[in-house]
């Protein structure tokens, strides 16, 4: 057959088969027992031309609603500068593999080094790895790290205010890895510090995972928490939406040992679920326990600054079952994505993004309360750009009514609870349309 991805002419095949000492390509599969051979073509249809592939995807995209997004729950509709998409499409970045040959991979290695620096600075920590899959798996990796850190304290506690998909993922990893996890209850929408202290007093907790902001969008107050956790010999792990840390007290400033979370909020499109990016930053003392790739600076034999994968004794291809993690491919290109995003935005841009979203969120919350159809579930706690409403109307009814006018209302977390996020992407007109539609319900 002729296909544009296959360069072999009949003459090429003849030359190659001759070199191999066989007459047919099938003869190269003579070692496969006949009963295992596939005796029919795949039931997958004929090849499509580019024109047909395009119309296939267009048809399916047409069968999705394109909505102004007020949903968050850990992932947000953010502005992506044109430069970012243009740069990450460069095929030298896109079509390369993990940088095993540093001499011809300095592009990848250098951006990972820049990424590690930016993530360390954003989280207020000393070091960062080269990325993990997403916020949920990054938090699970932190749990494993904390649990394995001390034989006497193998249990890991997490707040019930942690995002539910993160908790479910943690629970899966804990169940099979054999980690005893325990939930810290909440009081009025925030982690109960009293319950946390009681747990720590048991002397078996090796790690504590708290969210900032939490699953209701609430900014929790961790005053005194690091001290309590450290006095009990445990590690303090903070899970955050990355961009929020430009405005909120950082994990480093709170005294955390490990900062983890999802970095999708740094301009990565929602893409119905990915690719996103999990980050993990930590105190330098933990560098040999970190999962994943780490890039370090060194020199080449000419004395030039050079970047390499380092501390590889932690990794699966060297240590096999004794590795700190099984992670191999991570989210390399997405690390480049957020590195370019943060380069363009700077401190000022990130703060402005947060301020714009927060202002619009507070305005919307106030206007929605004024409709009398919903009220803030936790009015006594501060929030940034996301908040939970308790509704007097069924949330699915609200979601459907707003979808009719081109709006994704939020994420229904219960039949009468709606989690709403507002970012810099939402216009005044969309916000007004949201409010007017709710009023009319």
């Amino acid at each position: 057959m002729n296909h544009r991805y296959f360069p072999h002419t009949e003459e090429d095949k003849r030359i190659m088969l001759k070199k191999c000492g066989v007459d047919t390509i099938d003869a190269l599969f003579a070692d496969i027992p006949e009963q295992l051979r596939l005796s029919r073509p795949y039931a997958l249809g004929a090849q499509m031309s580019e024109v047909e592939v395009r119309s296939f995807f267009r048809r399916l995209a047409d069968n999705c609603r394109s909505l102004a997004c007020f949903a968050g729950n850990g992932h947000y509709d953010r502005y992506t500068p044109a430069v970012v998409q243009s740069m990450i499409a460069r095929s030298e970045f896109l079509t390369s593999y993990t940088p095993y040959q540093p001499e011809i991979s300095q592009g990848t290695l250098q951006y990972i080094f820049e990424y590690q620096t930016m993530i360390a600075r954003l989280t207020g920590m000393e070091i960062s790895n080269a990325s993990l899959y997403d916020g949920a798996t990054a938090t699970a990796e932190a749990m494993i790290l904390a649990s394995g850190n001390s034989r006497k304290r193998p249990r890991v506690a997490y707040s019930s205010t942690l995002n539910s998909a993160v908790v479910e993922t943690l629970s899966t990893y804990a169940r099979y890895h054999g980690i005893d996890i325990v939930e810290i209850p909440e009081v009025d929408g925030v982690t109960s510090q009293e319950a946390l202290n009681a747990l720590l007093a048991e002397g078996t907790i090796g790690g504590v995972i708290l969210p900032q902001p939490n699953k209701y969008g609430i900014i929790e107050d961790f005053t005194g928490v690091a001290e309590a956790i450290h006095n009990a010999g445990a590690m303090f792990i903070i899970n955050s939406v990355a961009i929020d840390l430009a405005t909120l007290r950082s994990p480093g400033e709170w005294g955390a040992d490990i900062a983890v979370g999802d970095a999708q909020s740094l301009g990565i499109p929602l893409n119905f679920g990915g690719p996103y990016l999990g980050y993990m930053a930590a105190k330098k003392a933990l560098m040999r326990k970190m999962p994943g790739r780490i890039v370090g600076a060194t020199v080449d034999n000419q004395g030039q600054r050079t970047f390499v994968l380092t501390l590889q004794a932690r990794e699966q291809h060297i240590r096999r079952e004794k590795a700190t993690s099984n992670i191999c491919s991570n989210q390399g290109l997405m690390a480049l994505f957020v590195t370019i995003y943060m380069s363009l935005m700077g401190d000022k841009g990130l703060k402005e993004v947060n301020a714009t979203g927060a202002a619009a969120a507070h305005h919307l919350a106030r206007e929605l309360e004024a409709t009398g159809k919903m009220k803030l579930t936790y009015p006594n706690h501060p929030f940034l750009n996301e908040f939970e409403m308790t509704t007097s109307i069924d949330t699915e009814t609200i979601i459907d009514a707003l979808a009719k006018v081109g709006i994704l209302a939020g994420v229904a977390t219960a039949p009468n609870k709606l989690l709403i996020a507002v970012t810099e992407m939402r216009t005044e007109e969309e916000i007004n349309r949201y409010v007017e539609t709710v009023k009319a319900l």
Binding site: Y5, F6, P7, K19, G21, I25, L28, L36, P41, Y42, A46, Q47, V53, R54, A61, C64, R65, S66, L67, M87, A89, R90, S91, E92, T95, Y100, E103, I104, T117, R121, L122, T137, E168, S171, T172, H177, D221, R249, L270, G273, G274, P275, G296, A297, T298, D300, Q302, T310, Q316, G332, L333, G346, G349, L350, T356, A359, A360, H362, P382, V411
Partner: protein, 485 residues
């Protein structure tokens, strides 16, 4: 093409007061009440301050220090560095899907769920499995998910004593590492001199403490495990499950299906067999398939097709649990589906054959100068144990570095661990005879240089943007951020 200015770190190009963004205005500047100062960030972040063109030049310069499949031949064994078609990129950039939130309700996301379901069904057909999940983010994540499914299977039968997993000594490093994360104890099984699993050594390892056996077929030497029907029978007779590491699936396209070989659970690396770009180390995608009877154990959430043709998301307490925030790296899944549609049944049937032809041709063309430890027909890849003439002192590392001078990426080196000087070559089906012949010529040239000018080979590379880095210094005095320079 290396400009010394733009080649600096982005932090070194920063100047106070420069800016690279534009944002819509804040319409409600007075809306936020007071957030207590104790909750607010005190310190500057310290991100660079750069204008847009500086950012563009900086990253464009950096890209020229990189080597990708679009740059040249990339025979990295077990990584399946095939051409990453451009139409896939265009399809993955669909603007409607790009703006869709992962929690957008199923009734408003039917087309996206159909993309997921269509790809999962195609992978089931290719793998010979009953159902696939696309949720795992990479190959190793797929392995982990698959092993957790094996454990969930035994748990669901009330069988709690199965804590071991058998893994051949030739396996990819991720296999034992994934087993450890899944809470399983690794029991290695040794290979015969021809690189295939020693069935006699396997037999005594199989008892009621074994949860699963992991294999890749063809194995990492590129050799088809002929005993697979017997191995499957033995593993199943012991009550364990057989897991297929799909890293080497490419040569099986159109030839044989893991499900028909007796495998119960498998993963596929979409960034290998299904042509999605590796992105310098991700994002990948590691879908996991299971045979009939195990579907209910797949991770939450599952995408299912209803009788009326609509699609839904379901979560079940019987499932092994959740392994990801979302339905996986969705844009990667779109690329893989675009590839499958572009090749169609006929094209996919051909890919494995051509990949195998390319590998055997290279092997036969170089075996007189490179040591071929296992002399048999290979599939998509094969392993040389360094140069045939070991007297020159030129090692596999030297050969790999010298290849860079000639504009080729190096093969995988020092893996598998079965030989001292492993040089693992995988050409894939998208390489032309011309490209392959030029690679063969260079490999012969290097063998020649090893005799005539060994020092030059040992000190390679000579023409790359940087030369041999000091790895020891990097590990002894780790400097991991700009602040440590």
């Amino acid at each position: 093409m290396n400009n010394k200015l733009y080649d600096k770190l982005i932090f070194e190009l920063s100047r106070q007061g420069r800016c690279g963004y534009s944002l819509p205005k804040n319409n409600y500047p007075d809306a936020v009440g007071s957030i207590p100062a104790t909750l607010m960030r005190e310190n500057e972040i310290g991100l660079p301050q750069v204008d847009e063109l500086t950012v563009v030049r900086h990253y464009t310069n950096m890209s020229t220090n990189n080597f990708g499949v679009d740059t040249g031949f990339y025979p990295l064994g077990s990584c399946t560095m095939k051409y990453n078609p451009k139409i896939n990129e265009e399809m993955a950039g669909n603007s409607v899907i790009a703006s869709m939130h992962p929690n957008q309700p199923a009734r408003l996301s039917q087309g996206a769920l159909e993309i997921y379901h269509t790809l999962a069904a195609a992978l089931s057909e290719i793998g010979g499995m009953a159902e696939f999940t696309l949720n795992p983010y990479a190959g190793a994540h797929g392995e982990l998910t698959g092993l957790m499914i094996c454990r969930a299977y035994h748990d669901s039968r009330g069988d709690k004593k199965r804590t071991k997993v058998i893994i051949p000594d030739s396996a990819h490093g991720t296999n034992p590492a994934s087993a450890a994360v899944a809470g399983l104890q690794v029991v290695p099984v040794k290979s015969l001199p021809d690189g295939t699993v020693d069935v006699e050594a396997l037999a005594p390892l199989l008892d009621d403490s074994v949860a699963a056996m992991m294999m890749t077929n063809p194995n990492t030497l590129g050799i088809f495990e002929r005993q697979i029907p017997q191995i499957a029978e033995m593993v199943h007779a012991a009550g364990a499950l057989l897991y297929y590491d799909g890293a080497n699936l490419n040569p099986m396209l159109g030839i044989a299906r893991p499900g028909d070989m007796g495998f119960d659970v498998m993963h596929i690396n979409l960034h290998k067999t299904f042509s999605t770009p590796h992105g310098g180390g991700g994002p990948g995608s590691g879908p996991v398939g299971v045979r009939a009877g195990l579907e209910h154990l797949l991770p939450n959430p599952r995408v299912v097709k209803n009788e009326d043709g609509t699609f839904d998301l379901i979560s079940s307490p019987d499932s092994m649990g959740r392994v990801s925030s979302t339905l996986g790296n969705f844009a990667v899944e779109m690329r893989a589906l675009s590839y499958i549609l572009s090749l169609g049944s006929d094209g996919l049937m051909e890919a494995g054959r051509l990949a195998t032809l390319n590998a055997n041709y290279i092997k036969e063309s170089l075996r007189d100068v490179y040591e071929l430890p296992v002399d048999t027909i290979c599939k998509h890849e094969f392993v040389f144990d360094g140069l045939k003439d070991k007297s020159t002192g030129v090692t596999t590392l030297n050969i790999a570095k010298r290849l860079l001078d000639y504009g080729f990426h190096a093969p995988t080196i020092y893996f598998p661990l079965l030989f001292h000087e492993s040089l693992m070559i995988e050409p894939t089906e998208t390489e032309s005879l011309d490209t392959i012949d030029s690679f063969i010529e260079v490999m012969r040239q290097i063998a020649h240089e090893a005799v005539n000018d060994p020092e030059m080979v040992k000190s390679a590379p000579h023409t790359t943007p940087v030369r041999r880095p000091d790895d020891t210094e990097a590990a002894l005095h780790p400097r991991l951020t700009f602040d440590e320079l």
